[in-house]
Subunit: 513 residues, 2 copies
């Protein structure tokens, strides 16, 4: 077999069965090999940032890596922002990056670049297969590396000759490395500290927001400890039947106010919280004065097991409080994020997945859906906007029977608008909502906070998306996705109800300003 066959076969043997691709000439052998490996589903994306974001969404929902197929250094770079988000979500992703034939690199042809150097900052593992006989073994290594724990990006560089030479050999089927078991001493120490602390909190990171971990965290809460999560988590089980922790506020001063007087912060699968950005004369670290911190488990540990052990050690009840389902009243009048959140809570079916790139609209909707039907919420983990639609693509490929909602600020949505075409092509069951406020609204808030003062005409023009106004219905329709615009809360509620009742891709432009 050639190297490309060895690669795809080994990936499929190791459970990697989805490939989000934008190939070029140097990847033609990989593309040809897809016809010989029916286990691999390939999904064409019209920009690499869609492919990498989709792999992130897939990995968050499937709990195993997808692969991407990227075209040399520039193809990797186009996908790097969403791989940055994947890195911050600890999502396992295997990136296959095509390269020139090994002997061709020295000639520095136009597409040549230092791919390994580009990939390193985002990656747990970067290797190049310098000959076909290495490809299979490295593919197995890449899959193993992507799992971590915690997970992340593994990048396998595939020179064209390593793909086309016939000395390929299938790599091993590996046992995916799992998270470590919790440390009983850490559990005992945290239990004792929580018991004696005046005002303790438990802070959960991404790895502690799955269904089992949250159930255990709810037991801890029932024993009298306040539980919070990081502001942005990779995947959080929410809604009916789930324990609802508080969320650490985004703005540092609000977070510190919320934590005022806390004397002990126990960290679960996370680190000490820090401000998303620095601001003049404001602290970077969001631990209040006099508050001790203690770690229950790091990100490589099974947080659900650690939390269950902690709950047991605290003598917590067998079950914590969970949310009941409650349908908010139908929203009326002005269309804002609160009204949209109410509609989502009303109409979203059970087991839906929400991909959140909603920026300023995100928190109101997060709040409104606390009593919604059971769902998973996928946050923007790395701050690189343009994640929302690509992650929705991947989540829908991973979970074809679950409704996916993709929430996007209009600025964020434009970053990877090409994802709409893939939604249409693959007939994915994704409803895209665009919050059309015609501005980088968050920057209007941040301008003052960073000491920039009141924006003048030149500054205002860099925060404004309203000239011209983007017609999202036209854009989506042009890319094959049925779309409509809603200008009132009633119209949005009706549009969302229709979208939730149907199947397949659609877009609703929420006209908010």
């Amino acid at each position: 077999m050639n190297g490309a066959d060895a690669l795809i076969t080994t990936l499929a043997d190791n459970g990697v069965t989805a490939c989000f691709a934008n190939p070029g000439t140097s990847e033609m052998q990989f593309v040809a090999a897809l016809d010989r490996e029916p286990r691999m589903r390939s999904v064409l994306c019209l920009f690499e940032g869609v492919a990498t974001g989709a792999a992130d969404g897939y990995g968050r929902m499937a709990g195993k890596p997808a692969c991407t197929l990227l075209h040399l250094g520039p193809g990797y770079a186009n996908g790097a922002a969403n791989l940055h988000n994947a890195r911050r979500a600890f999502t396992p992703v295997v990136n296959v990056i095509g390269d020139h034939a090994t002997y061709h690199r020295v000639h520095d042809a136009p597409l040549n670049s230092d791919i390994a150097a580009l990939a390193a900052p985002n990656s747990l593992w970067v290797r190049s297969a310098e000959s076909a006989d290495q490809v299979g073994a490295l593919a197995a290594e890449a899959v193993a590396a992507s799992y971590g724990a915690p997970g992340g990006n593994a990048c396998l560089i595939l020179p064209a000759d390593a793909a086309w030479d016939e000395s390929g050999a299938r790599g091993a089927a590996i046992d995916p490395p799992g998270p470590r078991a919790p440390d009983p001493a850490a559990v005992a120490a945290v239990a004792q500290a929580l018991r004696s602390a005046d005002k303790p909190v438990l802070l959960l990171g991404s790895g502690a927001c799955g269904e089992a971990a949250l159930a255990a965290a709810g037991r801890v809460a029932a024993s009298g400890v306040r539980v919070l999560t990081d502001t942005f988590t990779a995947r959080q089980a929410r809604g009916e039947g789930r324990f609802r922790p508080d969320k650490l506020p985004y703005f540092g001063e609000q977070a510190l106010k919320d934590l005022e007087g806390v004397t002990l912060m126990a960290l679960v699968s996370t680190l000490e919280p820090v401000a998303f950005f620095a601001y003049p004369d404001r602290p970077s670290v969001l631990v209040p004065p006099g508050c001790a911190t203690l770690t229950l488990c790091d990100r490589g540990t099974d947080a659900a097991a650690a939390l269950a052990a902690l709950a047991d050690a605290l003598g917590a009840p067998a079950a914590g409080p969970v949310e009941p389902y409650a349908s908010p009243p139908a929203p009326a009048g002005k269309l804002d994020a609160w009204a949209i959140g109410a509609s989502i809570a009303r109409h979203m079916p059970a087991d839906a997945v929400i991909s959140d790139d909603a920026v300023t609209a995100g928190l109101p909707i997060f709040t409104q859906t606390r009593n919604a039907r059971a769902h998973d919420w996928l946050s923007l983990t790395g701050g690189a906007i343009g994640q929302g639609m690509p992650v929705a693509v991947g989540a829908a490929v991973a979970c074809p029977d679950r409704k996916v909602l993709s929430l996007n600020g209009d600025g964020a949505g434009m970053y990877t608008v090409q994802a709409l075409w893939t939604l249409a092509r693959e007939a994915l069951d994704v409803t895209v909502v665009i919050f059309a406020n015609h501005a980088y609204r968050i920057l209007g808030i941040e301008m003052g906070r960073t000491g920039g003062g009141e924006p003048g005409p030149a500054a205002r023009r860099l925060l404004d998306l309203g000239d011209p106004r983007i017609d999202w219905v036209a854009v989506a329709t042009g890319l094959g996705v049925p779309a409509e615009r809603a200008e009132t809360a009633e119209a949005f509620d009706a549009a969302l109800e229709r979208a939730m009742a149907g199947r397949g891709p659609r877009l609703i432009e929420a006209a908010m300003g």
Copy 2:
């Protein structure tokens, strides 16, 4: 003044007066400072790849750098593919990359990454301003570094505190470093070798394709030496009144056939030609057997002066042959790239600029426009598609009185489709043509050449853009650009004639399959 003021003032003092921006929170001080520096024109782009491509187009046409404003590592990464193209075009570009405040980096907040490591592979110069008092001096250094010679990317990392602290000081106004004077010994050696060679050619790189250099090259041609250019050049003066060199064919075997029997290749502002990609059992270097190579001047040298000296040394006539204007007949019937090329030659006004990201449609149009009115042709230099519309944005900002044509494959156009919005916002005089063949056509050709064989259903699906078909008229209209679709040669000819006669942005979808 604060660091941001020091930066923008120093940039403007050094002739950097255009900023292609997509800012975020860490860049708010820079944005605020724009209101205090009226010399700087800022242009908002809805994706960083548009901003960097625009800076490339601006630099190619203005002969001086624009700056970009990018949001930390992910913002840089989003723009890196078009900076790869700029690197291969030797375009001076100053990239201002915002970063967390210096003291905040250690906390590894979500948007933190190793920006310098990411930027290094594409850059001549990368520095971070670690305090406000360094910013002005580093800004002047960055501008100087971007000029080279030859030019390239200079990246100035601007931590938020270096922008907001008040210890900023204006940097020096520098003299832009120019290219080196030619080496008389090299000129004499090449002249002698050309005289005695049996079958010599002169190969021109990007730096030797400006108006003066081509006029001198035409004189050399008149003395009996065949003159070719590299396949992709950053900016080539063409059409009426200009000398027309041949172009080295894209496919290696065609290039070697074209060069068969050549005994001497004199290199002007370029290196030995190499194949764009490697293919099984085909050579990488495109110098025929038995052909000697000799360098007239490297990329840092004034190629026009070197060529003029060479022409003098050869006793060449005072002027070489130049193209007359000739209008092709009106095309009729089937709409293909040859017909489109004829329409462009018929209707394109003098002094137009063509931004070519047309992939398979590019060569027919290049050929058809050889006798068109005088124009500049900007090629895809680095092979990273998605350059065409962004470069057109920058060219139009640099040259507001020149008509700009942006030629794009449909696959390439989707990469940076966000550029349409900036065309509309800035009312730039750009006509965008999309070659809607609903395929990555080039890959259908390359699949066989790389040994991939006949594509099966899975492979074909990764080369096909036809399901669903993109409605470019809807997409462009949605982003504010008036658009129409042409399905015949006659309809295209009429649409292009209207576009050339009018002003402002518009898009023509050329329905080609």
